[in-house]
Structure formats: C-alpha cells, structure tokens
C-alpha cells in the first residue's frame, strides 16, 4: 500500500496547479467583464499565467504517471483510476499546446477547465487501486488506439469549450466578457475542431478494431464500449450533416456539440465500467 502513496502527492500537486489555472481563467474573464471599455480584450499577461499553471499541472501529472508506471511496470491503461489520471494528463497537455498556438480560442478555458475538473474531482473521490496488465494489452496497436483516442477527446473538449462560450454569451454578463468575439467565428472554429474530432475518432476506431482482431479474434462485436463508440462516431457525422442540411441556428449547433461531447465522455468513462463484457480481454 505504501507504494500507492508515492504517485498521489504528485497527482494532487498537478490538480492543484489545474485548480490555479481554472481560477486564473475565471479571473481573466471576470476582469474583461469589469472593464468599462466596450469589447475589451482579455489580458495577455493573465493568459500567460493560465498557460504556466496548466503546463505546471501537466508536468506534475507526468511525474505522477511515471512513478506509477515504474511501480506497476505497465502504463495507465487498465482501470478507471488510471484512465482518469492519464486523461487528466493528456487533456491538459493537448489543451495547453492548443491554448499556446491558437490564442483566439483561449476564452474556452472557462468552460474547458471545469470540464477537466469533472475528471479531477472524480479521481479525488476514487480509491487509487493498482491494476494488472491483461495479456491482450501487449500489443503495439494499443498505443495507436490510445494515442488517437486522446487526440479525439481533446479536440472534442476544445469544441465543447467553444460551444460553451457561445452559450455563455447568452448571459448578459458573459456577453460583455466575450464581446470581442462573434458567435459566427466561434461557431466556425468549434465545428472545425469537431471535424478534427471526427478524423481522430475514426483513426481510434480503426486502431481499436485492429487491436481487437489481434486480442480477441474479432474486430468488432458490439460490446458496450464498441456500441457506445460507434454511436459517438455516428453522432459526429450526424451533427456535421444536421448543420449542413438544416443550417441550424448557432446556439443549437453549440448544444449539438455539447451533446456529442457528453456521448464521447460517457463512452470513455461510463461504458467500460457499466458492462462486465466491455473489452473482454480485461477479464
């Protein structure tokens, strides 16, 4: 049991850094709202601080993951505790890179960080149980599957963050905070990330199917996770088509994105634990 505690302080420190990033994100937006100038811009200095806190969190979580990996002798791929920890790391990492490279979507941090905190608070309530590496996980496709999955969920998170900003703009106070942006521009950017989401979701499913063929002798068998991930993939395609076919209002589009994110989220963190038969190789 002593070993379990070695990675926990690093994880708590990482989450603390994420908490600071979250508070700074709200502070930065709140300051814009408090500014009397119309369409004031968020402080660049404030944004740099948010990025610094985020990167610190990612580095601390990297140490936590490395310590656990070293201790157990395998990567964080098996139980829910590990999945949450590694997603906290990868969502933070990929979001930091996007935050740094695409300054115009930084407003999304006020939505993205609380969404990351759903995972953060969940992991804090969990027993940090050790896991055993199933025999079917010794497969290179696992890496491709997990890697594409991380990109997929991160892009979906960014799209959800932008969709959240669109919806927040309906509240007068936030409308002032985000006055320097237009719904149209946010909508364009959010759907562009949904398209990236579709690409990486497709790649994740392909890599997963190849792995499943190797691991369980079938590439697809409609287990809980496969069914749920297929529905997520289909919902992205349907979302893109709904937008094309009906030219739906931007705010409805934002709700569609959030619904897809919700589906992706439950696929990741619900389906594998909801059914005994999910990814049978674990058993």
């Amino acid at each position: 049991m002593i070993g379990v505690f070695t990675e926990l302080p690093w994880m708590w420190a990482g989450l603390f850094a994420y908490a600071i990033a979250t508070l700074l994100a709200f502070h930065n937006v709140w300051q814009v709202g408090a500014n009397s100038a119309a369409a004031a811009l968020p402080s660049r200095q404030g944004e740099n601080r948010i990025l610094l806190a985020l990167v610190s969190g990612v580095l601390l979580l990297t140490v936590a993951l490395a310590v656990r990996w070293e201790r157990l002798g395998h990567g964080p791929f098996v139980n829910l505790f590990e999945l949450l920890m590694s997603q906290l790391f990868s969502l933070g990492l990929i979001y930091s890179v996007i935050y740094w490279r695409v300054p115009d979507l930084r407003a999304s941090a006020v939505v993205v960080m609380p969404l990351i905190w759903v995972l953060g608070s969940w992991i804090l309530l969990m027993e940090p149980v050790d896991s055993r590496f199933p025999p079917t996980y010794h497969n290179d496709w696992l890496w491709a599957h997990v890697g594409f999955g991380k990109l997929f969920l991160s892009f979906c998170l960014v799209a959800a963050g932008l969709a959240g900003v669109i919806l927040l703009r309906t509240i007068p106070y936030f409308a002032r905070c985000f006055a320097h942006m237009t719904d149209e521009a946010l909508d364009q950017l959010a759907w562009r990330f949904m398209m990236l989401t579709l690409v990486f979701d497709s790649l994740m499913l392909i890599a997963g199917a190849v792995w499943a063929q190797d691991a369980w002798g079938r590439y697809w068998s409609w287990d809980a996770l496969e069914t749920s991930s297929f529905m997520t993939w289909l919902s992205i395609g349907a979302g893109i088509h709904v937008r094309l076919t009906y030219n739906i209002p931007i705010r409805l589009g934002a709700l569609v994105i959030l619904a897809i994110f919700f589906l992706a989220f439950t696929t990741y963190f619900g389906a594998p634990y909801y059914s005994e038969s999910a990814h049978k190789g674990v058993i």
Binding site: A39, L41, P42, S43, R44, Q45, V102, D104, L105, R132, P134, P135, T136, H138, N139, H180, M181, T182, A185, L186, Q188, L189, R192, M195, L196, L198, V199, S202, L203, I206, A209, V210, Q213, D214, A215, W216, G217, R218, Y219, S221, W222, D223, A224, T227, F230, M231, L234, S235, G237, A238, H241, V242, L244, T245, S275, S277, G281
Partner: protein, 331 residues
C-alpha cells in the same frame, strides 16, 4: 430516373438512416442472438443507396475529390462488412498435445452462407504450451508450440498465443483461456486390440477443483470415472508458470466400488481389460476465425480517413484560426 435518384440522394434521408443505424447499433448491443441482422443491415442498405445516389447526383460530394474519396470509402466499408458477414467463419476447437488438428472436432460453429469451407486444408500438430500467471491467478502470456505443415511435405515450428494467431489459408487460430490437462490412456481389452486415447479434463485452472472426466470402455456399459490429482506449482499469491511438462499427477480411477491410484506408467486391472496410465498431457482450446475482408477493410478505412483529411485540407488551407474582431490592443 435522375429526379428519382436525386430524391433518393436527399441528405434528410441520410439523417434518417443515421438515426435508424444508431437504433440498430443499440439493439445489437452485446450481439444477442435473438436480434435480427436486419436491424443493422436495413439502415446500412438505406444509407448505402442514399450515399450511392448522392455520389452520382450531388456536386457537393462528387466535385470535391477528398469528400468523394471519403464517402466512397464509407460505401466500400459497408460493402466489405457485408461480404465479411456472408463469408466469415467462427468456431472453437480443442487440440490434444501431440495430436493433429482435426476438423471433425470443431465446435460452436457459426458461419456466413457463402463461406468457402477450406478448413480441412489446415494441418498442424499441437505440442506443449505454457501460460504465465501473475498473483491472483491472473492469466498472462500464452505460448503454444505447434508444428505446422508448410504444404510441401515439410513442417515448420510456430509459437502462437492469444494475440499472435496461427494464420493458415486465411483461418486464424487464437489460443484462449480454455486449456487444460489430459490423461493419455491405453485400454487393452481381454479380447481384441489395445487402444490408446486422450481423455481431456476440464479447463485449468478455472476448474482446478474438478479435474474429472469419465469414459466407457468399448463393449462395456459401465462408465469408469477418472479424477486427476495435480501438482502444477500453482501459487495464488505469486507468479507461476503453467507448464504441462513440469506438472506431476496421480490418476484416481473409480470403477464402481473399486478405487485405484495410478502414477504415469502404471497399469490397473479392471473388469474386461487392463488400463494403463501412459502419460500426463495437455490440450489447448482455440478460437478459429476467418474473414477474407480483414485486410481490405483496413485499407478501405485508412483511405476513407485520408479522403476526409484531404477534404479538410482543401477546405481550410487558406483559412486561419483567427476569430477576434480586434487584435491590436492586447495588453
């Protein structure tokens, strides 16, 4: 004709097809045998015809190379998956150590109606196997040693496992958790020829507590019951290796009132003949899978994603990610 095709190409129909497919996927969850294949095949056929019509009539798709490639890719995945369902083969088989794979022993077969049935061309001989176990009897890597016919009269050694199947003529043999011990017995009847055979015990270590089976000698009506008392070195709290060649055994024979314990090489006299416990052996349970579309499905799906990437590249290469209306006055 064209107006009919155009109506079939409606993207509203696409959405309907997608909703029906999602419902079909939900119903197929965990693949219950009582769900008709049509809950998936129906929506897929609708979507495929809708897509086919759209590819022919909609400039939105057919004038954009990347998008066209993507949608044709989706169509080809549907077609390949359908061919796969019509030609697949799925079954289980247990193969005795030092025994050859025997098509007649194949069990739990499900197959597509156009499966070419060439399984009898597969020839291999099972040798030993080992399975790594970790504390808590958690199964690790399985290594099953085979001699496989090279088709030219020679034999090749192969090691297969749970995720490294033996592939012969498109048939893939995967080891499974279902494997165990067997007793090699020779029955020499008072009159007639002696016969040697292998008696499989239940899966090990799953049924560690009931390594028992029974057999009725030819011409007799009385069943002989066997129980294999094993020492495999199994340790629930530590790493251990399941290896038939290292295991020790005693064969307990129950013939009515008579109870005997045999070491390997020992013979017992029973009513009607002599029973010799020749050796402790093993058996491996395989999952057999055949689907000629696997490689093509992979290629088609990769090309589909490539098409999507090309489409987005063409669409966004001249657009920046900037969304601000005023970029000058940042502090």
């Amino acid at each position: 004709m064209m107006s009919w095709l155009r109506r079939l190409a409606s993207t509203r129909l696409t959405l309907l097809g997608m909703v029906l497919l999602a419902i079909g996927a939900g119903l197929s969850y965990d693949n219950p045998a009582d769900v008709s294949v049509w809950v998936l095949a129906g929506p897929l056929l609708l979507l495929a015809s809708n897509l086919f019509a759209a590819i022919l009539t909609q400039p939105g798709i057919n004038r954009r190379p990347g998008l066209l490639m993507f949608h044709i890719g989706l169509l080809s995945i549907c077609a390949l998956a359908a061919i796969g369902r019509l030609t697949f083969y799925d079954a289980r088989v247990e193969v005795s150590q030092n025994g050859a794979f025997d098509v007649a022993a194949v069990d739990e077969i499900s197959q597509g109606m156009f499966h070419p049935s060439e399984l009898n061309r597969v020839q291999f001989v099972q040798q030993g196997y080992t399975v790594e176990y970790r504390p808590g009897v958690v199964r690790g890597i399985t290594r099953s040693y085979l001699q496989v016919s090279d088709g030219r009269g020679g034999w090749e050694s192969k090691v297969v496992g749970d995720d490294t199947p033996l592939v012969v003529d498109g048939y893939r043999f995967y080891t499974t958790f279902n494997k165990g011990f067997a007793a090699v017995l020779t029955w020499s009847p008072d009159q007639g020829e002696a016969i040697t055979g292998t008696l499989h015990m239940p899966s090990y270590p799953l049924f560690d507590y009931k390594q028992a089976n029974s057999w009725t000698p030819p011409g007799s009506k009385k069943e002989i019951k066997f129980w294999l008392r094993l020492d495999t070195g199994m340790d629930e709290d530590a790493d251990w290796l399941l290896d038939v060649s290292q295991a020790q055994s005693v064969l307990v024979v129950n013939n009515g009132e008579q109870r005997l314990e045999l070491q390997t090489g020992q013979t017992a006299s029973l009513p009607g003949g002599q029973l010799r416990y020749e050796a402790l052996s093993g058996w491996m349970g395989y999952k057999i899978f055949y689907d000629p579309t696997l490689k093509w499905l992979f290629i088609a799906s990769m090309l589909t994603v490539l098409g999507l990437c090309l489409h987005y590249w063409a669409k966004f290469k001249h657009q920046s990610m900037a969304i601000m209306t005023d970029k000058q006055s940042k502090t």
